[in-house]
């Protein structure tokens, strides 16, 4: 461990125990020190101590809750009393898989989530690239603040802001009317616009962090070898930033998939999966059916996570 040139080789015990041979006094064997020694010689014990509290929390609160919800999907509600009957049945699953309402809403929700994700990545890439590779350090700091600040404005207020922007006597109509154009009003387009707006900072930040990690020397090397801007971006920057981009898409995709409040505020009468779950928990008081519907986004997210796991995106969240 330590090499000691001046002192004679230790004759008894190890370096650690031999305090008499040097100016450093041998540490007193307090309980704290004994604990330290024990911990540094027992890495498994260290690991167990580190993991026990968080795993207890996540296991008890989250895994149990989630598992209970999944089990509930196989139960049913007594139509007279409204109580949950703990009899095993796959009726709910069959209803959700075969009902045309659920199919339509599922495809609509996936479509909205995909569209939102594509829009967000398209908007986030240029601004993140500018922040990471073009802007001066000072401008970069200001830009990071400018991107972070809207995160602190309440989600609800931003959705409501779009409600007023898109309304028939809102600012968009006011701006577009002279050109003979009109606001899309409330509906699915408004939902896509608002969700893209809401999740944009969550997509910009991981992509910015990923692009910042791309070494400038690689870009210079590419230029020295004759690579023009676009080939360099396509063959050097994008492959290196891919995990970060996918990390960003996890946010926008997953957050859009479960949203029901934005749809209520700007979506008009459109329904997404979240709305179906919400009505079944609340008004319809049918938790088993709600749990069965919830299985759809859970399956989609797990599929997506499994798909992107190999890219290393989960380390970039």
């Amino acid at each position: 461990m330590t090499t000691n040139a001046t002192a004679p080789a230790p004759v008894r015990g190890s370096d650690r125990d031999d305090g008499s041979r040097s100016a450093i006094r041998r540490p007193r064997a307090t309980p704290a020190r004994r604990t330290s020694v024990f911990l540094s010689t027992h890495p498994r014990m260290r690991l167990a101590l580190l993991l026990s509290a968080p795993l207890f929390w996540l296991g008890l609160v989250y895994v149990v809750a989630l598992a209970a919800l999944l089990v509930t999907a196989f139960w049913t509600v007594d139509s007279f009393t409204g109580q949950i009957k703990t009899e095993w049945t796959i009726d709910n699953i069959v209803t959700v898989l075969t009902g045309s309402l659920y199919q339509t809403v599922t495809f609509r929700t996936i479509g909205v989530a995909l569209l939102v994700t594509i829009i967000d990545v398209a908007l986030a890439l240029p601004i993140a690239f500018y922040m990471a590779k073009v802007a001066s350090p000072r401008a970069r700091r200001i830009l990071v603040i400018a991107v972070l600040m809207p995160l602190w404005a309440s989600y609800l207020v931003k959705a409501y802001a779009w409600r007023s922007v898109l309304s028939q006597d809102g600012i968009l109509e006011w701006v577009l009317a002279p050109f003979g154009l009109h606001t899309p009003g409330y509906g699915l387009p408004a939902t896509v616009i608002t969700l893209s707006y809401l999740w944009l900072p969550y997509v910009i930040l991981p992509i910015y962090a990923g692009l910042e990690r791309v070494p400038d020397s690689l870009l210079e090397a590419s230029a020295d070898l004759g690579g023009k801007t676009w080939p360099t971006v396509r063959h050097v920057v994008l492959p290196l930033a891919m995990p970060a981009i996918i990390a960003g898409t996890i946010f926008s995709f997953s957050l859009s998939l479960g949203d029901y409040i934005t749809v209520n505020i700007v979506g008009g009468a459109s329904q997404m999966l979240g709305n179906l779950v919400y009505t079944n928990v609340g008004a319809a008081n049918n938790l088993p059916l709600a749990a069965a519907i919830a299985l759809i986004p859970i399956a989609i997210i797990f599929g997506y996570l499994a798909l992107v796991r190999r890219t290393g995106a989960l380390d970039n969240l």
Binding site: T35, Y62, I127, F129, W152, Y160, G170, V233, G274, P297
Partner: protein
């Protein structure tokens, strides 16, 4: 890569345009907070300070801010402890089930809020038999805040390595002394960044909160949701939003300066 002047300018213009798009709705909220129109029509028919006066006199709004701050502070504190522990475990050790634990940390944020919400609601009420209260909100928030702390701390741990800690141990420092004098100072800005994100996440959360808050618990987002469709209250909601954005400049600026200082020192 040498960007031509033209492509630099174009890129800058595109970035600027996106930022403008990001800020226009917020500016509309700012203007609406002074508008005499309660239906938020544009252009505003006139201007007034009435909503600002009413917002600061509104007990409901102030109570809601207080509740949200308490919930966010406690859940951030829990998330800081649990997130740090779990990032040490995953970064410094290789063990069976490591990937699963990693997934478990990410899951509360990766799964849609409504699923976490109904799962926890069902867990608290029917499985544990605990009545919903402010504490059920704290437990729920802490669960999905762990990931923000985890991400920041594990990224820092990957960069710093274990050399300094080993040196400290070789020099005779115990576990606690090493943590206090060596590990913690290295982690401080990562903890601040993760803590700020956790605080922001908890402060703004509405979906999980709806399902886990007891009947008397009104966090700020719940207050806003309850009030924004009432014509006489909508401009007050706009005032609250403006104040929140302005106040948020302070922590963001501090976090930026802290990380900026560190980069210069390196």
């Amino acid at each position: 890569m040498r960007l031509s002047r033209l492509s630099r300018t174009t890129l800058g213009a595109v970035a600027g345009l996106i930022l403008v798009l990001v800020y226009v709705p917020l500016l509309v909220v700012l203007v609406n907070s002074f508008s005499t129109s309660t239906s938020l029509s544009w252009p505003p028919p006139g201007f007034t300070l009435e909503w600002w006066r009413r917002a600061f006199a509104s007990e409901g709004a102030m109570d809601a801010v207080g509740t949200s701050v308490v919930v966010a502070l406690i859940s951030t504190a829990i998330a800081l402890v649990l997130g740090t522990l779990i990032s040490f475990a995953l970064q410094r050790f290789d063990f069976f089930g490591r990937q699963t634990v990693n997934l478990l940390v990410i899951l509360p944020i990766a799964l849609p809020g409504i699923i976490t919400g109904i799962a926890l609601n069902n867990f608290f009420r029917t499985i544990m038999g605990i009545p919903l209260s402010i504490w059920t909100v704290v437990i729920a928030h802490a669960t999905f805040c762990i990931v923000t702390v985890f991400n920041n701390v594990i990224a820092r741990l990957r960069r710093t390595g274990t050399k300094l800690e080993e040196a400290s141990a070789d020099l005779g420092a115990g576990v606690w002394t090493t943590f206090r004098l060596v590990t913690f100072p290295q982690l401080r800005s990562a903890l601040l960044a993760g803590g700020l994100l956790a605080f922001a996440l908890s402060f703004d959360e509405i979906i999980v909160t709806t399902f886990t808050a007891g009947s008397g618990v009104t966090t700020l987002p719940i207050f806003i949701l309850n009030n924004m469709f009432r014509p006489s209250q909508a401009p007050i909601v706009a005032v609250i939003a403006v104040v929140l954005v302005l106040v948020s400049i302070i922590p963001i600026y501090l976090a930026q300066r802290l990380s900026g200082d560190e980069q210069q020192r390196r």
